[in-house]
Symmetry: C3
Subunit: 663 residues, 3 copies
Amino acid sequence: MISKNHVLIAIFLALLCYPSLYSQELPLLGAQVFIEPGQTAEETELWFKTMRDHGMQICRIRMFESYMRQSDGSWDFSLFDQAFKLAEKYNIKVMGTFFPTTTKTDIGGWKFPKDREQLGQFAEYIKQLVTHFKKYKSLYAWVLINEPGGGLRDTAFSREIRQQWNQEHPQREVLDNGYPVLVDLQDERFKEYMTSWMLNWIAEQVRVYDEEIHLHVNNHAIFSNLPEYDFPYWRTFLNSLGGSAHPSWHYTAFPRDQYALILSANSEILLSGAGHLPWLMTEIQGGNNTYSSNTPMCPTAEEITQWLWMILGTEGKGGIFWTLNPRASGVESGEWALLDFQHQPTDRVAAIKRVSDCIQQNNDVFKQLKKIDSGINLLYIRESLWAENVITQGTPAATDSRKIGLKNLLGYFKALSEMGINANIKAFEEFDFTKENYTGSTIILANQIVLPVNTVKPLEHFVKKGGTLLVDGLTGYYDEHVHNRMLTDFPFAHLFGGQLAEFRHSSDIFYYELAGMQVPASLWKGFLKPDEKSTALATFGEHITATRSNFGEGSVIWIPGLLGLPAWEDAQPLAKFLTYTLPLDSVPLRFEQHAKNVVMKTLQPDEAVITILVNKAKTEKEVELNGCVELLNGRVLFSTIDRTSINGTIKLYPEETLVVQWR
Amino acid sequence: MISKNHVLIAIFLALLCYPSLYSQELPLLGAQVFIEPGQTAEETELWFKTMRDHGMQICRIRMFESYMRQSDGSWDFSLFDQAFKLAEKYNIKVMGTFFPTTTKTDIGGWKFPKDREQLGQFAEYIKQLVTHFKKYKSLYAWVLINEPGGGLRDTAFSREIRQQWNQEHPQREVLDNGYPVLVDLQDERFKEYMTSWMLNWIAEQVRVYDEEIHLHVNNHAIFSNLPEYDFPYWRTFLNSLGGSAHPSWHYTAFPRDQYALILSANSEILLSGAGHLPWLMTEIQGGNNTYSSNTPMCPTAEEITQWLWMILGTEGKGGIFWTLNPRASGVESGEWALLDFQHQPTDRVAAIKRVSDCIQQNNDVFKQLKKIDSGINLLYIRESLWAENVITQGTPAATDSRKIGLKNLLGYFKALSEMGINANIKAFEEFDFTKENYTGSTIILANQIVLPVNTVKPLEHFVKKGGTLLVDGLTGYYDEHVHNRMLTDFPFAHLFGGQLAEFRHSSDIFYYELAGMQVPASLWKGFLKPDEKSTALATFGEHITATRSNFGEGSVIWIPGLLGLPAWEDAQPLAKFLTYTLPLDSVPLRFEQHAKNVVMKTLQPDEAVITILVNKAKTEKEVELNGCVELLNGRVLFSTIDRTSINGTIKLYPEETLVVQWR
Amino acid sequence: MISKNHVLIAIFLALLCYPSLYSQELPLLGAQVFIEPGQTAEETELWFKTMRDHGMQICRIRMFESYMRQSDGSWDFSLFDQAFKLAEKYNIKVMGTFFPTTTKTDIGGWKFPKDREQLGQFAEYIKQLVTHFKKYKSLYAWVLINEPGGGLRDTAFSREIRQQWNQEHPQREVLDNGYPVLVDLQDERFKEYMTSWMLNWIAEQVRVYDEEIHLHVNNHAIFSNLPEYDFPYWRTFLNSLGGSAHPSWHYTAFPRDQYALILSANSEILLSGAGHLPWLMTEIQGGNNTYSSNTPMCPTAEEITQWLWMILGTEGKGGIFWTLNPRASGVESGEWALLDFQHQPTDRVAAIKRVSDCIQQNNDVFKQLKKIDSGINLLYIRESLWAENVITQGTPAATDSRKIGLKNLLGYFKALSEMGINANIKAFEEFDFTKENYTGSTIILANQIVLPVNTVKPLEHFVKKGGTLLVDGLTGYYDEHVHNRMLTDFPFAHLFGGQLAEFRHSSDIFYYELAGMQVPASLWKGFLKPDEKSTALATFGEHITATRSNFGEGSVIWIPGLLGLPAWEDAQPLAKFLTYTLPLDSVPLRFEQHAKNVVMKTLQPDEAVITILVNKAKTEKEVELNGCVELLNGRVLFSTIDRTSINGTIKLYPEETLVVQWR
């Protein structure tokens, strides 16, 4: 069992022992070198040389147990030794990914052993690898396992751990208020525990043999698996956090022209998750799909560029493409790669090199990138995602529009992004509720259907101390026992400024008339009974449908309809409303006007400001910057077109990425 | 085994012992009071008071075994005692629904025990409840079980009963004509038996302890489960018949603007099923869906009004909404309710009160409501629905347009309804074939693919004695052994006036030219070989596709194509054709012109006539009444808008419900 | 085990012992007489008489074991004796189909026994039937089993055979080049083996008791099951090859107005599969569907005519409709039949009679029909279809456009057919690679994703000796071990004239600018690195996307995009490109212009030429013939409209079939 105390001590030790390895270091670009039997030494050398020659300083290698462990139980590391030596020769850092033996057609690897025996074999594998490869200067980090998340099956092992966990985490039958618990979140809660347990176990195995080596892990399919990931706990055994960003697998709920935006959101989640640790994107789709992936695609050079800049614009300390060279065997053969079938670099490699050159040429800038904090925070509540999963279990996602996941929250992210504002996306527990002043700061709770009872105090503190809280959709409908708190002594009545009377489902989009605008909303229209300190913002007939109320030095805007979903069609009304409503005066920089399909990330390495602009519209877009930062001289650090100077209105070409340093 | 004789004796006794409790009584309106632990006594009292203050006189309570039976085997009835006492205080009748222990997430309850042990526990539960709650004046009825139908699983218990049943109902291997039986309806037949067996068993258990108490049961999802329901047999142990009408669960095959019409059809099925017994709608959706139901919705106050009047217009002796107060626990928490989260009445409660007030103010009228019989009967053959289920098993309903169920029959209902005519919807066995004169009476067999051989005689008698028979679609394709009788000595040749030569599938809508009109039809076009006493009504090239033939004093119209399905797009052509073809002179009252999306129900409490009109069109509609009843003075009994008088053409506003008494 | 030598000896013996029974014989038309208990002797006699009177000379009878074998183990053949005697009386040949006992609702019969016991029962059944029915002159052939293919289940029997097969056909773990095998085709390979094994076993059983009798078998759902069918091996035990062509079951991936074209393609596959043996279409949909089939339909008389002429135009030695009379029992009762429910012929029978009359009246012509070989060959590689099945296993066909099967290949067939050109469709192993001159001959490899390494030599030989090779799509991506050979020493570099650099997926249609035309393509765009002997045909930016290269006396056109798929929307661009590119001068006859939705088959019985034209367009179409054959006098052999002479441009009416003999 992982006790709370152990966690705190571990965090403390982590802070002591592992000073950020990256701070003041340049971001690293690179790719996965896919090592498998049959490849020649010449080919392998060519790959490392190609990386070096094209601005790549880091690689990942999948450490197949099946290509090392011999049938007689002995170990033959030669295939991988060769790669580590070549990495040394070409000065490439290696992140080795643990990949214990699995079935031949399993392209992702297992996430949990099926029994104690397999766990023991895994321990032996870790021992062998950590002790053997320790000698290589090129060894930079171990990746604990490939893409944890989504892999819990009903096995002897999972049942054993669950039995024990159940004893330590029994589900209440009856709540304090006397109501029975009929639906619970135990399965989801256990899934999160088990993922954390496993990663910690692997880290412990490594630490037996190597106390120094950098440890890293990459989550994946973030918008589905997020509720399993307890990043603050992971920080206790990791040195950096990573993620996989494969649009053709992970972003298919969104149209392709939104992938830059979605990668920006993915990065924000990782940045927040990493906390004091550095983060980097451990896997980024590098090439074509033939038969793998549900929505096949081949990234363009422009997309490669855009994605890297989204990562850099979110303080990412690097990006590693999947893969450098294509596999020749199995279901993914010939796919995903940056190099072509003759090992020659494609235009996607050239795109990476251009970004790498920019980093090198401006190393003073890129050593200390710091995102400008807009003060706007989209918080997600783990239990909300769990509850939605559990409650909508019966119907397929394709036909049940109530399976929303993060899509409503990300609709806000889109609206803000098209305003030129970088919102933070944070797990509730990742937000710092300990400050004494939140003036200018905003929290948006976008359809967070579960608000655990223990969130009352921090949220009240936040608003009392000057924060602005925007409450959307069914937020607060349930508590963490899937009990409807709006019916039974609503614990947020005081903070939100009233009661929720009822929700009414609407099969069509409906509109709030807010400050003279028609703001579209989806799914459920809530009716409010405000208390005396609240003012109505919108009404429907005799019903009040949105309120603003003051609480301490801050205020709460309560709109119990889903405003984020319609932003996927058109974010302009929501953007306008947010501009009107939120305390944006303190946002250092944003667009003068809503700019559809334009993404901006803003950074502040020192006294200068850097803006990263990507135009995903099919036409030229003109944007004008606005904000409290004075923009004097604009120096073009990077552009995919020929640029000399920037003044006044910026005209962006379709697919252009433009990076400007302002002084 | 239930012998035929026992059934007849039981029916006789039923008629003797239980004189209709409702006759000459006013319809009762009410709602489900949802009792669960955690609720306060004050809240519970408020609910009963609210009912009384808003014209509700009856409630249902789900009698959770899990909240009464203690872990030591003792019983604690206190939670429910409190409710029964409050019901007494506020003069509310209680229908208690048996609800034996089930899993926490099972929101509907089981329909059959899984083994003998569970059956024994159920018997004990019934004993405990019947004997304990007998003392309350407020106890009005027991509801045998929640929503029987659709719940037969393969269990030890079902296998035991099936084995015995198989011996008593062996399937023939070879028919009298020598043909083998390759597909049979035994599974469906057994399902019907088992549902009846179970309900009768529960009733018997109650009768051991209480010979007087009113017994009731509510079927559900009527358009799917109907073939399981043997209403004439149910009458032998029930005192009234009920049903559930939850549009968001049960009417999803139809668009929302047809729900009033569909509820009218649902009511007609129950009216016919109830026979000499009264019927009422035991559950009607009262409020919003969040996560339950496949097609979530929140009824409007207008819909609540319309639905109640559809029930009253079909002689319904009441309507009980599901629910008064929302549950706070489990997957349905916060849903379905008439009251809001602060226990305050919504506008849906106000709508109920208005209908209740109308009933009270016109109690002379509402004590003796009698539907005006149009003489038009849509008969469904149980075996047809069974055969379609069995034969189309392999393909999903969504993609196989041949899974028709009642949709073609209901297309006729719609066409007739838009003519202002209330058709009866009856199981074949519910129709009275014993009369000696059927002049002016019509039977429509809309794609009844199975006509059991024993239907020949009653149908011949009906037509011989002056009835009109309209035969549509594949009617008569099979006999009750799924044997194609059209091929082998067609037993209806004499009655229908010829032979069916062949059917040809059409993937497009095709048209019959009938009496100068183009009447659309679906799926299969049949070719006829009429005998000498028949006349062709329509032809296709050299083929005759529809005939009329005289038989005794009546006649048969045979159109072997599906005319009902296209009426869901546009019912006007079918309505026109029916006007032209059927003996409508004896229909007392109907529209002068086809009125799309207008529903009319007509009643005759005494010498007066009452018309209930609902306009579901998005625009104002003008209708003019026509018929053999003279309409002199129109007194507005009820309208959702401000009305004083009615004369000549009636202009109906969108969503309006208008009830007029004519003298 | 079937050794290679045994096969060769068997082929040799087959050639010796069974001289083509059909050569110089007229094609036979007929239908399935469906015999089941309950039918009267008079009805049965009427069916045989009707056949004789309407130009049908052959019938099939399903030999139900369940209607012969008695419960005491004795055999009662009387039901079928009667049919065989009536067949003699009316001079109808009988093909009896083995149909061992199965479940009552199994309408297709099993394909493999579930265990050794059932295999033994089958052997006894065969013995009984072969010895008993040998005496009838009317017995013409045994059909080994109904529609083999698609029926392999995991049973005791299949596991037994698989175990043995695995030992004899172990899968390699590592390839010669050192790469591991991660995905293999063993399951698919075994399926093919097992189907062959079973058919051969049945044939052997028959041969124990009858060395002379004609043996036949009909495959089905050809576009799905084709990869299971090893026709060259089947030839060793068959006397003729057959197939089932039920558009409502088998052609549903295509629109109905393409069914004539698809039946033409189906016939080409059988013609090639049959090799030196004759072939006939053993089952053709004869009538209406009610509840069977996923896409119900009733063929029109025009379709019946078109389908028969497609068969005759592909050298088919006959066509047998399913069925003459409808079944009266079971799930297919009343379906599929040519006769109506009163045993009278429909217009579909009249259509058959007209074709039969044409054959009889021109028996000199129809005894020696020989398809004119266009020299264009669409080759399919069995392993390609296997690999696609295996690799796309995870996703449903409806949503994964990468599940192509033969659809891209058939797009070429369509384009060529609309040019008036009959392409051959052949398994790779059915093509004759032993010639010394291929001038004027073309092979098209349309997205054959697997090219086994042993195809290099024959393909090089073909081109070296003057052939033209067109390579489309991902052709050659894998070898037979699903290993990506384009990455590892591409064995076709020499022949194709270069290397494939990479593929890029395109979610939209993209265009090749080829010879001034815009030719649309689908799914993946390949980039080429041509060698010095190749010329670029098309480019995309700096990339070469299509090449032509000379090899020996022939040439290779390499277009690594899928050109066939877009031809299902509009085949004109592809047709134009093929006209421009392929050596069509040697095609004896084709259209002057591309004719959308017109199908032409050309035959050459002697010095004359016969053209069969079908117009599936909704409007009149004018076509002009062109080619190296001189067309002098056109004698109309057959037309569905009134025709006297043909000169110059031919105007075809919608749905018309026109057969002209040119001298």
